[in-house]
Subunit: 170 residues, 2 copies
């Protein structure tokens, strides 16, 4: 799969999707956040086939999103836990949860909600600017080539902007 800008120049989203861009990995990670740790736990909870679960868990361990830890000897038994890298996927899952609740679940029928321990309220996550703390959306931000962008990325950006009849949506 050529997931990047024209064969080269890694897009961070594409790189992420290479690790967790299949149908099951995000759900495995979601369950890991809920506290599921064991092979059979994931399997029963998700209804995923054992073969694919094995493959996904191995890939997630390889990607250092989960770590496999022995919790018992004789017979050796292992469980899967989130690493720091994995735990930092929390904002991704949260924004997904928010979108799903907003657009796919009838209002007032949410099956999951978020509690902020700090203030004790049921809350929604909000994305703000790290600099001025104002909420951000596609309309008030622009993505642009970064310091590691080669010519091909810069050109890809230009090309897209040029080809669009109107302004880009982002």
């Amino acid at each position: 799969m050529t997931i990047n800008f024209q064969l080269e120049a890694p897009c961070p989203i594409a790189l992420l999707l290479e690790l967790v861009g299949d149908r099951w990995s995000p759900l495995i990670i979601r369950d890991a956040f809920y506290g599921v740790r064991r092979f059979d736990g994931f399997q029963q909870h998700l209804g995923i086939s054992r073969k694919v679960l094995t493959m996904r868990l191995n890939a997630l361990v390889q990607a250092e999103i989960l770590k496999r830890e022995r919790y018992q000897v004789k017979p050796d038994r292992y469980e899967y836990r989130l690493t720091i890298k994995g735990r930092e996927l929390f904002p991704v899952l949260l924004t997904m949860m928010r979108w799903g609740n907003r657009w796919l679940v009838p209002a007032g029928q949410e099956t999951v909600q978020l509690l902020h321990i700090g203030c004790g309220e049921k809350i929604e996550p909000k994305l703000v600017c790290s600099h001025c703390d104002e909420p951000i959306s596609a309309a008030d931000t622009r993505t642009m080539p970064g310091p590691g962008a080669g010519l091909e990325v810069v050109q890809a950006f230009r090309q897209i902007v040029r080809k669009s009849e109107h302004k880009p949506d982002m």
Copy 2:
């Protein structure tokens, strides 16, 4: 695919993944944010096979994330644009971009960066509590059954918490 809590009770993340949980849809949406609109644009930019692209675009239109609009008559030509629902996926893509930049791209080598038009700075998106505006992470939040949660969800939550030797990671 049984993507929900034990066959019933829709998890918002699972519902989202049912619409955009394959390898290509997120990249198609990313490109749509960049301003790509045409079939051939997506195809060349992503290197996706035309057959799969057709299927994905149709599914995204069906999901009301993209809309198909005629931009020319004789011969009729169509382009794909983000709907409001689609544009609200922006936070999901942004948090993915941030994680990818942080964990998969060497520091200072980012190919994409975010500019906040409001304050003119290169920024990172930050997730905060909608109530008290404090930054939120897995550690200071808890997910819990919502108003639409049936018995099975409540039990699933309890079951997971009970089965974990230690505290959940979220």
